[in-house]
Amino acid sequence: SAVISQKPSRDICQRGTSLTIQCQVDSQVTMMFWYRQQPGQSLTLIATANQGSEATYESGFVIDKFPISRPNLTFSTLTVSNMSPEDSSIYLCSVEVGTYTEAFFGQGTRLTVV
């Protein structure tokens, strides 16, 4: 299994500002994943973060809006830039571990943009 510490757990931000979310894993992992969950919706993959290379973004998500850092094998950050109320969501980081790639998630960051 994996233990993922994600922070902040929640925040209320002004529109036009940026928020950086941090994820720390208790073991080294090759890939980390960032998801967005809009109110009342399911989870959508934003991007996959590999250490030592640029993140791979899913359709509809761009680096300028959601820059990601992956400085080592246990840590990653996601920044939500130039926020608008439409960015109000839960953001979650995830890793997949083990031979059978079981996914584990951080506690989530509940973001409200006002």
Binding site: S9, S42, L43, E96, Y100, T101
Partner: protein, 106 residues
């Protein structure tokens, strides 16, 4: 891409009742997981179950990979079982169903 569909839509139970949640998927998958999302948004791993049957206390799950569905059984439901249940399949990337919001009333 793979489609994942969950049912029933948002069941409401009385405490002590049993419930079965279903997850259908449209193609062969390497992995299937069930999660429970608590009121604070955290996803709790319930089962990793690409095939077969597993049990953990009052919860059990069965996946029939050849028929592309999985079932999550909740027996003797409690109010703390309330929340959103997601199944997710790994077909290249992890793909989530739309979720089932279970409400257990005292």
């Amino acid at each position: 891409g793979i489609q994942v569909e969950q049912s029933p839509p948002d069941p409401i139970l009385q405490e002590g009742a049993n419930s079965t949640l279903r997850c259908n998927f449209s193609d062969s998958v390497n992995n299937l997981q069930w999660f429970h999302q608590n009121p604070w948004g955290q996803l709790i791993n319930l089962f990793y179950i690409p095939s077969g049957t597993k049990q953990n206390g009052r919860l059990s799950a069965t996946t029939v990979a050849t028929e592309r569905y999985s079932l999550l059984y909740i027996s003797s439901s409690q109010t703390t079982d309330s929340g959103v249940y997601f199944c997710a399949v790994l077909g290249g990337k992890l793909i989530f169903g739309q979720g089932t919001e279970l409400s257990v009333k005292p």
